[in-house]
Subunit: 406 residues, 2 copies
């Protein structure tokens, strides 16, 4: 029985650890935060889990928030501009969004209950060799830290050298859910996107507003102005910007009760989308495999990061269970098996945050006119490889639209 070391206790590390524990594989997860620190800390993200991720959670026995109760069924699209358009796309299978300050601690607790070993410590570069010595394989599932530096950036898959959006994501009271309950994807051309997500948190059912703001645009200030300096001023700013740029969401706001759910429930920042090498050879000759953010960090604009990480963890876990060695062949095999979904998610996301190509706008127009196309685009949030096959080139989108029209 191999012994696996996992660096990082995010969704990738924990789902991999839980999969391996289901087959009695010895696993140690190294993380720099306790479950209690995560639970009591700042908002971590505004992640939605799509159907394939939820299916994996059921297989792992970690479906603690049943999708029928906590989930949602659709995407409401609003495309602003001189002639605003709105339309809806329905999922065949629901998605859901649970605050990771609930989700990750529960998974950590479950991992330990099921015999997984958790070591809470901050790792340094000099820890790589001794930790590798303890395990047959290291899986690096932490986007930051000493181990992340093992995996060089792949420039051919990393078109940006700086963030394309300035982010502000917060949990709010005072926004009525749309009907049917779903995520609203609102675009203010030239200024950015809003993802309005029905999220279950420690405050119950709340709304996450993830503002994806174009640098230099009218909304960038949402990612720059400090909330703590003047909370009321920040909330007024959000309302003003919602009214101007994202009116479909603003229409459901009750200004009297609108407020951030708590001072730790706002996260501001920016990230540079980056694809890194799949694996690295360590000084002792063993291999380290990258999964999750350390392998591909994507902008959150289409909610692919966590789902891609979960997919990568699943593929990696199945390969560990089926294989007889953790050498370069193993790493190449995992890389090949996950490439379609993981690189599809990265490529699709990178397209969405660049200058919108004409064929993307044409697809939006087709979604507005043809509900079946809108549903397919929505369902492909579950299958980013399929979405990318449609959107990779003008010719592909043309062919897709021609087939759906016929």
């Amino acid at each position: 029985m191999p012994d696996i070391g996992i660096i990082g206790a995010g969704i990738a590390g924990l789902q991999l650890g839980l999969l391996l524990r289901r087959h009695d594989v010895p696993v140690t997860i190294y993380t720099d935060k306790t479950a209690a620190q995560l639970a009591g800390g700042r908002l971590l993200n505004s992640v939605a889990h799509h159907a394939p991720t939820l299916t994996r959670e059921r297989a792992l026995g970690i479906d603690f928030w049943p999708v029928e109760e906590y989930g949602y069924s659709c995407h409401h699209h609003y495309l602003g501009g001189p002639e605003p358009m709105s339309w809806r796309g329905d999922f065949d299978e629901w998605s859901s969004a649970i605050d990771y300050r609930l989700y990750l601690p529960k998974l950590i607790e479950t991992f330990e209950e099921r015999g997984g070993r958790l070591e809470v410590r901050t790792l340094q570069a000099e820890d790589i060799e001794p930790i590798s010595g303890r395990h047959d394989l290291l899986v690096v599932a932490a986007g930051r830290g000493a181990f992340a530096a093992l995996f060089p950036r792949r420039p051919e898959l990393s078109p940006y050298d700086r963030p394309q959006r300035v982010l502000s994501v917060g949990l709010y009271h005072g926004i009525a859910y749309p009907e049917p309950k779903g995520v609203t994807i609102s675009v203010s051309p030239g200024h950015g996107e809003l993802l309005e997500i029905p999220m279950y948190s420690g405050h119950g059912f709340t709304t996450a507003l993830l503002f994806e703001n174009v640098p230099g645009g009218d909304l960038e200030v949402l990612g720059r102005q400090r909330y703590d300096d003047d909370p009321k001023s920040y909330e007024r700013l959000v309302l003003d910007k919602l009214a101007k740029h994202h009116p479909q969401t603003f229409a459901r706001v009750d200004p009297a009760s609108f407020a951030l759910t708590g001072p730790l429930d706002l996260l501001q920042g920016a990230l540079t989308p980056t694809v890194r090498q799949d694996y690295a050879k360590l000084p002792d000759g063993k291999f380290a495999l990258a999964i999750g953010d350390v392998h591909t960090v994507v902008d959150p604009v289409v909610g692919q990061g966590a789902n891609s990480a979960s997919h990568s963890a699943w593929v990696t876990g199945q390969a560990i269970l089926a294989d007889y060695g953790f050498d370069e062949l193993f790493c190449q095999d995992v890389a090949a098996r996950r490439a379609d979904v993981v690189l599809g998610a990265a490529n699709w996301t990178n397209l969405m945050i660049g200058p919108p190509p004409e064929h993307l706008l044409r697809l939006f127009g087709a979604m507005y006119e043809n509900k079946a196309v809108a549903d397919e685009f929505t369902n492909n949030f579950d299958y980013p490889d399929r979405q990318w096959r449609i959107l990779a080139t003008t010719e592909r989108t043309n062919e897709f639209l021609a087939r759906r029209a016929s």
Copy 2:
């Protein structure tokens, strides 16, 4: 609906064409021989179809020789040397061997019946551009000819620069099938292997003897001596060599009736195992995808070539049906999806025809001692990716054997 051109009417080209026709995709297959020429010509090979290939044939409605009637259930192993060992490995699902002079013409006929277009002509390099102009995608499924030159050899996956075996394969009367009916894999250390295959041909149930002779060894003459110069002398030579090197098969020979089934039923030659690039960009900007022998040509010693080609055709066909363009992304996607099986088959085969490493001999020993290991090795003829994961390194074989021993 895309229009697909296929160069080559072997198993890869025909199974791909038949898959596409099942979905009404327009397909033209270019080949340099008519069905009648194939049917009346020299023995083409001694191919066995393993269970995944037979499953695909049922899905395509081309299971013309039901495995229950024409197939076999096991491998009989004979390992010669000072202390000969023999053992049997059983398949979970049967394999079968049908003379390709029956098989390919029947598939060509079916392809045309189902609306496929067949063009019989010998293509030259100057045909590439006009033929590419007629189709959305060219799939090259012919190991030889002008189109094969499009795909450069991949040296890192092609360890040999010359043939490792001198081959002689013929169909014979006068050999009783072993009980249970199966392929016999007989090894004469230092001199080569014999694959004795129960094959159905135009002569009914016959036996194919595929001699895999080490250059410079005592058996090389089987691939060199000309049958036509003196048929009786060649048959006597085969009997003499069988008696000396492959006694388990010789014991089932009836010398009085032993004979080649006909003057065209012998094929001699040699091939250099080669892995080539997955795809090529054509002068007009379109892409050509390599499948079958033009992508990976393997020595026939473990019967993987046709099955690998069939797998590649299936993966390619599914990708054509699901995709919206035949660009580099499409080609890379096919390459990634088939890599485990197709490169696994090539790597495993290349190991079998090199100097036998100690861990391969250790695996043979374990098969002799443990029927479950022999059965697993046998079933992995269906899954060359799994076989390669066991055999790629000494450490992997050790780990595999340790797990099976516990």
